[in-house]
């Protein structure tokens, strides 16, 4: 018993001496921070440096332009042209392996928040929602070895890269967060409200959650004075769903966690498009919205929600419904 205590004490002394002696031995900051084994002499000092440089995800910084120095070596086919070595981009055609055997141990600073806010600001105008309107860069300081994926929802949120590897050492990852408008991919913004997106960053299985708000102006013709018109339609929609016993769909469902806000965005779009150029009566429009929220075919016409012919006359293509028959 006494001998085992003495042995433990000697190990603790050895570790402490390594911690305090390592800086004196001159391990410069330009050296690799973390070797393949965390038991090496460089580990303690490296760990201290990493805890200061890895405030994930609160340590992000917004950057209008790339901050990473250009890679000196010519990138190969599997290397991103805007990520410094050893951060490598895995293209979607080469899915990221979950094998962590050749990846150093990841280091997360104490107190690293699992949640953060990455605000995209204000879209310049509702009209600009027809193109890629906004790009901001999320910069992360990474230490240790990481394999990562970024998952984004809804479809209008488009991060690039969405998967990456940092086998060892320290690196800086810049994720471009774009706003995508693509009806074919179901990607669209709702006007006249804050659109909330969500980025889920997975680093070696540890999840970091980012809420991404984007303010989108209402279209011309839907201003403060149009509030009553908007909410009149909203009340009719509430009554429609309530009559069907599906009022819960307006409050929240897995597909529409804030169904009321989604409905308000569609109503603002409908009024901004002059009721789809006067070609879709209000009752039919409300039926489409109610069906979309409840995922049910109320009028038994074989479609849930907006039909292709609705899109032709002005309904948002990304909100196209589903055929049931």
């Amino acid at each position: 018993m006494h001998r085992s205590k003495a042995r433990i004490s000697s190990i603790i002394c050895l570790l402490l001496s390594l911690i305090f002696l390592d800086p004196l031995l001159g391990s410069g900051s330009g050296q690799p921070i973390l070797g393949a084994s965390a038991a090496g002499p460089a580990f303690p000092a490296g760990f201290l440096r990493l805890t200061a440089s890895l405030p994930l995800p609160s340590g992000y910084g917004l950057a209008g332009s790339a901050q990473t120095p250009p890679p000196e070596n010519k990138p190969d086919a599997a290397t991103s042209d805007y990520l410094a070595d050893p951060l490598r981009l895995l293209f979607p055609s080469a899915p990221a392996s979950l094998d962590l055997s050749n990846t150093d141990q990841a280091i997360f600073a104490n107190g690293t928040p699992g949640f953060d806010l990455f605000a995209l600001g204000v879209l310049s105008s509702a009209e600009s929602t027809t193109t890629t309107a906004l790009t901001k860069t999320l910069t992360l300081e990474l230490g240790g070895g990481f394999r990562g994926r970024v998952f984004a929802s809804p479809a209008w949120l488009d991060p690039l890269p969405d998967r990456f590897i940092n086998p060892q050492g320290q690196g800086k990852l810049q994720i471009e967060v774009k706003v995508r408008q693509d009806a074919g991919q179901g990607a669209g913004l709702l006007p006249g409200q804050t659109n909330w997106g969500r980025l889920l960053l997975s680093l070696n299985g540890t999840l970091f959650d980012y809420a991404v708000p984007l303010l989108v102006p209402a279209p011309n013709g839907v201003g403060r004075a149009e509030g009553e018109g908007v909410f009149t339609l909203y009340r009719h929609l509430t009554a429609r769903l309530d009559a069907q016993g599906d009022l819960d769909a307006l409050i929240g469902s897995p597909a529409f966690p804030n169904g009321g806000q989604f409905a308000l965005g569609l109503i603002v779009d409908y009024l901004g498009e002059k009721e789809y150029n006067g070609r879709l009566p209000q009752l039919q429009f409300l039926d489409r919205v109610a069906e979309t929220l409840a995922a049910k075919d109320y009028n038994a016409d074989g479609w849930i929600g907006f039909k292709p012919e609705d899109v032709v006359i002005g309904a948002p293509g990304w909100a196209l419904g589903k055929k049931t028959k």
């Binding site: 953060d116 204000v122 006249g192 969500r198 209402a218 509030g227 307006l250 804030n258 806000q261 308000l264």
Partner: protein, 150 residues
Amino acid sequence: MPSSNFQPRPARPLPGRSPWFGRLALALVTALPLVLTACADGLPPTDVARRYLGNMRDAAYSPAYDLLSADSQLKVSRSQYSDRLGRARQEAGIVKTEIVQVLEPSIVGKRASVPYQLEVTLQNGQKLTLFESMVLLQQDNGWRVLWPPQ
């Protein structure tokens, strides 16, 4: 070099006022947010939403945080919430927020949805009209706001 001669002395009570007056005022100021939150315990969802929006309008993020649901508070700390929302507001260039109207809620079980209309003024003078909805949960301490909204 800070002086080492400085000796802090206890504050003297103001003439004509009891020393308990200051302590009472301090206690009131400290307890005010708690009292206001406690007052929200029995309020209907629309009133809680109105109070939350008022706090957001005034950039009073700490009292707004008290109105978040328990799960939302687990997700983000008070200081992070205040810091991030303050920064987001600054980055968006929002200089003024006006609550135009808050409507009656739709309630199903312990969940409620409260629609509202805001008018936001940006630094460049542009005014944005927003039509949004807030989801609230009925918890032991009353209706509380789900955050972040989705």
